[in-house]
Symmetry: C2
Subunit: 463 residues, 2 copies
């Protein structure tokens, strides 16, 4: 311990090192709430300080857990007592927003929402929009390939990362990619680092692709008499050639939960809702919203409303936005899975997942991104009950199996972290896991960057 | 030799093996025209046959050059006399076009143009559009991360590859990714294979992301009195919030070359032109084209025309499309580089590259994708002149240097192959090259998949 602390003290200024127990505990865990600890937290403010910490790690053999704002839902930012947390939240400068090159150059600790606001002020747009954008960092978004609400039209974080300056495990610094949307020189290490959960390198700066800011957007909310109605209507919108930037689905179970909290009396006939957001030029959006209403009507909507003002728009979004918070109040505890299935299998996957929960006596609420078929499945349970705890584990395993059986994924946008390491074996398979381990060895042969995350332990060892 | 042929004969049906000298020579080279040879060509029609060839390769130690249609400009598909060419052009089935999942599942040998046509017939759209789409395969496009004309708005090939079934060097088969736009389970091996030039794995089938087909598009051609005019107008369009799907720049030198071939008398005042293509709904496109004309006018266009019919549209594109062919006739030989620079540096990069050519007595024509700042630079020379040959090499080296000095890339969309292996050292740097070599080892430890391509030889060996 004291050797590591001595090494850190020699490497970086004392004010960047936090060792008090409260800070250590707070910064050693993430949204997963898995308890963690650490030897110390280093909160660097310069690239040179990051490099110095990595060199000290290489020399003294301690391992490092890089961290943004700690919003990971998977334990990706949970550290052990023998590790050093590298908290990048103070490296939070927007270095450049270039309107001609259509890029932003940022440090990893910038809050994604702050970046979005800064570029929008200049008439530009950074499309990825994870629900956590107000509190999560862009470095964390890149480390997990954050998805969010606008993926159907705009893609995910990886589609907007053009260049990465990264510090490697040995303390060397590489500049990968650059400012060009097109560049095909050697293997695509930029996209390989996206989603690598801090296990391959530490980000020092990121070059992000921007686009012109859409001039306008419109929001439409439609209700349906059947549970599948909202999903079929989503299909109908796409078949009509519309490409909404958001397409959110809520079924009766979820609506019944949020309605009281919103003071809404949910009509008996409403079995599902679809929230649609379109963007583009003023004229295009007005026209598209009109067409959307028409398509939704033909698809059987019993009600469809278009927000006329920003206030109305917020109202339409309120049900969707309040789900996560409201659901939390329904049971002593909840676990959330972000599963994905091909869009055509969404309805049957939701039904199967709910049935799996019922079989275990676990209440399940499912909602999510109907556009990109990423489902947020909430399992409500009482952790005080051993029976519920066991049932929960079986229900989660069954839900993952239902997703995989349909060609889906066990994580659409949260990643693996600690929580899905075993489960990922069923999705990735042993041979591809070998390849991933080979990649890890190429970047971090001594396993000092976020060890034990993002990949399952070897079956032969007990890690 | 005969041992390898025996092994192939045991592995795959005789009708899939080509050994006659003409076929061997033809299929052992690509658009680079670097002469090649091979022991044999295998043209499999099933996944099992590909696997059988890879197993034979693992057992008998011969190496393999995977190949699509041979349109690589870099020598990526050139083989040596001791290698086996794996020609995937007969695995050319479109297995599925799913309108609900918005994906196409295809074999690697499908021509990209055939795929585009098939999905458009169903109201869908595969946006990447390399100039070679009529003759190149989708597998080759993925292997090089092909760019093309629509990258500014729609991104490049990597942005549309969701899943890959691949055969590895040891003959095992992995299914990477899937049908979901969002999936973050383990490292992103899908995007790692995109652009890997056949050196990491052989593609068996590809799952491609589709979007609804835009209902309409419009084409506008504008002329400017200065060389920079066309580029500044491109900036102005983006600054006005327009996001054209194509934005092609031609300067006076290029226009002067193509005008006679097109029977056009180029006015004295025309120093550059910009070709703009917008897509979207009928209304949106009409409005956007109107705004584009307005912006182009304010940006100093001395003439701006909007195509009213398909015939007019083809006419506007004719100059752009005929450049490559016309340029070929101007000198005994030409070499083409596809350099990239940040968009804000395009004008100065073009000027510097031309100056570098002049200094060596080499005529240089530069044109390209102003939207994504990917320049096609043509060096015209006489291969019979030793002086010209030497000057050519120096001019190319200087042009690459000018691109890199501005934070650009030595290949926007063609890749490395054999031709840019040495030059890539200046862009990628030794540490990142180490990482790439580590990735190669993880996938292909015995270096049997397209050895010697896409990465520079080790400095210590003579490969």
């Amino acid at each position: 311990v004291s050797q590591t602390l001595d090494a850190l003290t020699r490497a970086v200024p004392p004010e960047t090192i936090l060792t008090d127990p409260a800070a250590r505990a707070a910064l050693a865990t993430d949204e997963s709430k898995i308890p963690g600890d650490c030897l110390a937290v280093v909160r660097p403010v310069t690239e040179a300080q990051v490099v110095a910490v990595l060199r000290a790690s290489a020399e003294h053999g301690f391992s490092i857990v890089p961290r943004g704002a700690g919003t990971a839902a998977t334990g990706a930012a949970v550290s052990r007592a023998d590790q050093v947390v590298l908290d990048l939240s103070a490296m939070n400068r927007i270095l450049e927003i270039d309107r001609r090159d259509l890029v932003a150059v940022v440090e990893p600790g910038v809050l994604t929402g702050a970046l979005q606001a800064a570029v929008e002020e200049q008439g530009l747009f950074y499309p990825p929009d994870p629900a956590s954008s107000a509190i999560s960092t862009i470095g964390g978004n890149v480390a997990t390939c954050a998805g969010g609400l606008r993926a159907l039209k705009y893609g995910v974080t990886r589609d907007y990362v053009l260049g990465i300056r990264a510090a490697l495990a040995d303390g060397s610094v590489v500049d990968l990619g650059g400012r060009n949307l097109k560049s095909v020189v050697g293997y695509d290490l930029v996209r390989l680092l996206v989603g690598s959960e801090g296990t391959l390198a530490v980000f020092l700066r990121l070059v992000l692709r921007l686009i012109p800011r859409p001039a306008a957007f419109e929001t439409v909310l439609a209700s349906f008499e059947t549970v599948e109605g909202g999903l079929l209507a989503a299909d109908a919108l796409l078949a009509a050639g519309l490409l909404p930037r958001a397409l959110e689905y809520l079924d009766r179970d979820v609506l019944a939960v949020v309605a009281p909290a919103l003071g809404e009396k949910l009509g008996d006939r409403v079995q599902s809702r679809l929230l649609v957001e379109l963007d583009g030029s003023e004229t295009a959006v007005r026209e598209d919203a009109g067409r959307a209403l028409e398509v939704l009507g033909k698809a059987g909507a019993i009600e469809a409303r278009r927000a006329r003002t920003a206030v109305e728009r917020d109202e339409l979004w309120l049900a969707r936005r309040s789900v996560s918070k409201t659901v939390r109040t329904l049971a002593p505890a909840k676990k959330s899975e972000d599963l994905g299935v091909p869009r055509s299998r969404l309805a049957e996957a939701i039904a199967a997942i709910k049935a799996a929960g019922r079989a275990e006596g676990i209440r399940v609420l499912a909602y999510g991104h109907a556009g990109d078929a990423n489902l947020h499945v909430n399992f409500l349970y009482d952790p005080a009950s051993p029976q519920q705890r066991a049932g929960l584990e079986r229900a989660i395993a069954a839900a993952r199996k239902e997703a995989l059986a349909r060609g889906g994924t066990i994580s659409g946008e949260h990643g693996v972290g600690l929580l899905k390491r075993e489960a990922m074996r069923d999705e990735v398979g042993p041979r591809a896991l070998d390849l991933m381990r080979g990649v890890k060895r190429a970047f971090d042969p001594d396993d000092r960057l976020n060890p034990g995350k993002a990949l399952p332990p070897h079956e032969t060892d007990g890690d």
